[in-house]
């Protein structure tokens, strides 16, 4: 599927390495995509866009100086040759004028790797026809993103890694006339009509519960069940400095107390990076290949923060091949023993939280966050659904959510792919269970 882009990556790398002076090294990161986006509102097409784009990122090191440049590349080799030659000359001129950088990570030759994951994707027009047939009378909003996604890394010492995948992600929500909603997602590599219809069918059934009368709850503490999609929002915030070695050293790490052993999570909480999920490349922007699994928290105790080569160089923490951002790229939280069929009974009186929204730290250094309930969150009494709740704001610490408040962890988990498309389609995701919490604080 992507031979043309792999060829562009290879010939661009060769051209650039050929232009280096003897005392220069170059690290290259490459990304490209061929993507179809179709956006829906009221089940109908709002906008459709077809995109082809490539980008190459250059990191030129000369002694103790470093300069970086990102620029577009396309499937036109002649255009690329002109722009890459100009770009390298610009970097070589600029790097000489810059101040010394004491924490430069010098490239190493970490070998070669190649991963290619193929898939079956529908034609855009066929997908629209399917949606038209299957959502008559249903209010659906969302979008399909699908196509090929490529990543590469190479350096002038001979290292080379290539990753490509074909995938689709139909991220959608269904609405009742009273503006209550359920969230759905059909994603993967091999699209089938039956798979799409099954996903829509599950969502339609869930939507029927949302027709019940809305329940307005007062702020306060409630028992809650965090479904995997809700936990995924919290996991997203873990990537915002909570597990970063550099952030810890800079006084900006919400889980500093956990790392220092001053606090712990519940002993049923075990977290790790698991690249076996196949959701993202194992290599980072320096081409370092991470171990297949990296333990982060085991039975409530932190094993390690995510530490990049840059942080190792600056602060002396040992690198575990994290990316420069030092957030989880393939987080997995291990399952427990709460069975799916027991979730509502064990929740008893409380709130079933299917999704959360717009999380942010409210006291970052204490691991405290705020956010909103969203989509089909339900009031449950005596293990039975009463109805959808009016949205509530919560304010709670990670130490409660993963610590003192944990009652049980589900024996099932769900893989959730990263759905971000800022600039280009993201890779990555997480595999997460549900959590039953004894109490959770709502404030507004």
């Amino acid at each position: 599927m992507s031979q043309p882009w792999e060829k562009i990556f290879n010939e661009s790398s060769a051209l650039l390495f050929k232009g280096l002076a003897g005392d220069e090294t170059l690290n290259i990161n490459f990304s490209a995509e061929e993507t179809t986006f179709i956006r829906f509102n009221a089940g109908k097409v709002r906008q459709g866009t077809e995109i082809e784009q490539g980008e190459i990122s250059l990191e030129l090191i000369k002694g103790s100086k470093k300069a970086e440049l990102n620029l577009p590349v396309s499937l036109d080799s002649k255009q690329n040759e002109e722009s890459l030659t100009t770009a390298l000359a610009h970097l070589q001129k600029e790097v000489a004028t810059l101040a010394d950088d004491p924490y430069i990570v010098h490239p190493e030759n970490g070998g070669e790797s190649r991963t290619a994951l193929t898939g079956e994707l529908p034609k855009a027009s066929d997908f629209v026809s399917l949606i038209k047939e299957s959502t008559q009378g249903i209010d659906l909003a969302g979008y399909l993103s699908m196509g090929s996604n490529m990543r590469g890394n190479a350096n002038s010492l001979g290292q080379k890694h290539w990753f490509e995948s074909q995938s689709f992600n139909f991220d959608y929500s269904l609405y009742t006339a009273k503006e209550k909603a359920v969230k759905g997602e059909y994603a993967g590599s091999n699209f089938t009509k039956d798979g799409l219809l099954a996903s829509l069918d599950i969502s339609k059934k869930a939507l029927s519960v949302m027709d019940r009368e809305q329940v307005e709850l007062k702020p306060g503490k409630y028992r809650v069940f965090l479904a995997p999609a809700a936990l995924n929002e919290i996991a997203g915030l873990l990537g915002w400095h909570a597990m970063s070695g550099g952030a810890y050293k800079r006084g900006d790490c919400p889980l500093a107390d956990l790392y220092e052993g001053k606090a712990s999570f519940h002993d049923s909480i075990t977290m790790k990076e698991n690249f076996n999920l196949g959701l993202s490349p194992r290599f980072n922007e320096w081409g370092e290949v991470a171990k297949e699994t990296i333990p982060l928290v085991t039975k409530g105790k932190m094993d390690s923060l995510l530490v990049s080569k840059e942080t190792e160089k600056e602060y002396g923490l040992k690198s575990n091949q994290a990316s420069g951002f030092e957030g989880p790229r393939a987080l997995e939280i291990e399952t427990g023993d709460l069975k799916r069929e027991d979730v509502f009974a064990k929740l008893g009186d409380g709130i079933y939280l299917s999704n959360l929204h717009y999380l942010n730290w409210s006291d970052k250094n204490k691991g405290r966050m705020t956010g909103m309930t969203r989509f089909g969150c339900l009031k449950v009494e005596n293990g039975e659904v009463v109805g959808p709740i009016k949205d509530l704001r919560f304010d709670e610490t990670l130490y409660q959510i993963f610590g003192a408040a944990v009652e049980s962890v589900t024996d099932f988990s769900e893989v959730m792919m990263e759905t971000g498309t800022y600039g280009s389609r993201s890779l990555g995701g997480a595999k997460l269970p549900g959590l039953l919490l004894k109490e959770f604080t709502f404030t507004l």
Partner: protein, 480 residues
């Protein structure tokens, strides 16, 4: 570092590829961004990012399709034109709305953002030296564990050509800067920053003396925070400085007034809105002293421009006039779909995304109160500055904000500093609790390059010019 192209050179091949279409347009977007940063007196980042590509839009039987490429050869653009046609045909199978070419009016002209000194004066080494010195000033203090300063220097050009005679070009020079220091005293860790300052300006943005004065103030206020008690909890009056209030306006006025949200396009991602079409002309958003405008004409504000990406001429319009909601933030397509009043605000983040309704410059018009009058009229309250945390629900009702720095107000006098100040409320009651709008002396221009929404996702630059304002009886609280 750009490949030089002329849109006119593609006219013949695109016309041929899109024969029979109602309308077509070509939008070239090229941008160079330099990101330079220093930490603790050392350089830490010298990065340049070049973005250059082209979007073909075509309308066929009232459906608009989009094809985008950064292959800027005739072959590449022709391929993008064919993709756009396929997308328009796919939309026709089950369309949400049907348009006619009036949603792409003919537009001709040029825009150049204002500057006092050319941005070309900001050479890499010069910027690096200034940032190193600033971060060193901030880090040369035994309480400071981390300090930094950065500048993001962006030059953007958008060129547009269409089948109905549009030919316009807009050039923007934008600098966004910030600096910060994190300090520790015992178990207390606090961070004080400039707040992200982004405007359309030139090399004057990184004036060395201004950087020095800002760094001195930040360091002084960091020490105040490290020695301050936690913010008190309770209902009290709240005075918000422009460096916090601009985000309050962004989240609780800007986003809920976006017509594409009200029409439901954003429900699956950014969210819906508590505002319904029936609210226009009726909803009392705030008291009569509240006047909110969409103003793309304010010189130097981050999202000032002459045309939106649909080619609609940009003009200043009231969104909230004397407290009443009068217009939405919706471009010509949303206006056509909803029948509501809107503004020229249909914009795309780059060449690879379709235009959607975006905020632009959303401003509060200055009032008549001085800051001193606001303080004097406060029996018990707090004055908060510089955003550090924000969260709001998908209907844009229930929000919570945290700030970096605050001063207590008691019996009409400004008292001591408090740390970890937060407040929460709901949108319409909050704006109706507005008691004072600051005069021109309190009016400041702020902006952010990071407003996100859309499927596929788009981040875009927005501006907010805001006076200091006072709100009564708001729920305020401190840290964990």
């Amino acid at each position: 570092m750009y490949r030089s192209i002329k849109l006119e050179d593609f006219r013949a091949s695109v016309t041929d590829s899109l024969k029979g279409s109602d309308w077509w347009g070509l939008r070239e977007y090229r941008e160079i961004t330099q990101f330079r940063m220093a930490r603790n007196g050392q350089i830490s980042k010298n990065g340049t990012s070049v973005d250059h590509g082209l979007m073909v839009e075509v309308m066929i039987d009232g459906q608009i399709g989009y094809g985008a490429t950064n292959n800027l050869s005739t072959e590449g653009v022709t391929k993008a034109a064919k993709w756009a046609m396929e997308m328009a045909k796919a939309a026709k199978i089950y369309p949400l709305a049907t348009f006619d070419p009036s949603v792409r009016p003919k537009a001709v002209g040029n825009y150049q953002s204002p500057f006092a000194k050319p941005i070309s004066e900001l050479e890499a080494s010069l910027v690096g030296e200034r940032l190193i010195r600033t971060s060193k000033m901030l880090s040369d203090d035994e309480a400071v564990i981390e300090a930094g300063a950065y500048a993001m220097i962006t030059e953007t050009q958008i060129n547009f050509l269409s089948s109905n005679g549009s030919e316009w070009s807009q050039n923007f020079q934008i600098v966004t800067k910030d600096m910060y220091a994190t300090g520790k005293k015992g178990e207390v860790i606090q961070k004080r920053s400039l707040g992200m300052q982004g405007k359309q300006w030139g090399a004057e943005s990184l004036d060395e003396e201004t950087l020095k004065v800002d760094a001195q103030r930040i360091l002084k206020e960091l020490h105040e925070l490290l020695n301050a008690p936690d913010c008190e909890t309770g209902a009290m009056d709240l005075i918000l400085s422009p460096d916090q209030l601009y985000l309050q306006v962004h989240e609780s006025i800007g986003h809920p007034l976006e017509l594409d949200r009200i029409l439901g396009d954003e429900r699956n991602y950014a969210g819906w809105s508590f505002v319904s079409p029936e609210d226009f002309g009726k909803l009392k958003y705030g008291p009569e002293i509240l006047n909110v405008t969409f103003d793309p004409t304010l010189s130097g504000e981050m999202a000032s421009y002459d045309f939106d990406d649909n080619g609609v001429k940009a003009t200043k319009e009231y969104l909230i006039k004397e407290g009443t909601l009068v217009a939405g933030i919706g471009g010509i397509e949303s206006q056509t779909r909803s029948g509501l009043n809107g503004v020229s605000c249909s914009r795309a983040t780059s060449w690879n995304r379709a235009p959607i309704d975006r905020m632009g410059n959303i401003n509060i018009e200055p009032g008549t109160s001085t800051l001193n009058e606001m303080i004097k009229s406060t029996e018990k309250g707090v004055l908060m500055q510089t955003n550090r945390s924000w969260s709001i629900d998908d209907y844009r009702n229930k929000f919570q904000f945290g700030c970096e720095y605050a001063r207590v107000i008691e019996d009409g006098e400004l008292k001591g500093v408090v740390r970890n100040p937060n407040y929460r409320s709901s949108t319409v009651p909050f704006w109706n609790s507005l008691s004072h709008v600051g005069n021109k002396d309190t009016f400041e221009v702020w902006g952010s390059p990071y407003c996100g929404k859309g499927e596929p996702n788009q981040v875009i630059r927005v501006g907010h010019a805001i006076p200091t304002c006072k709100f009564q009886n708001i729920e305020v609280f401190g840290g964990a």
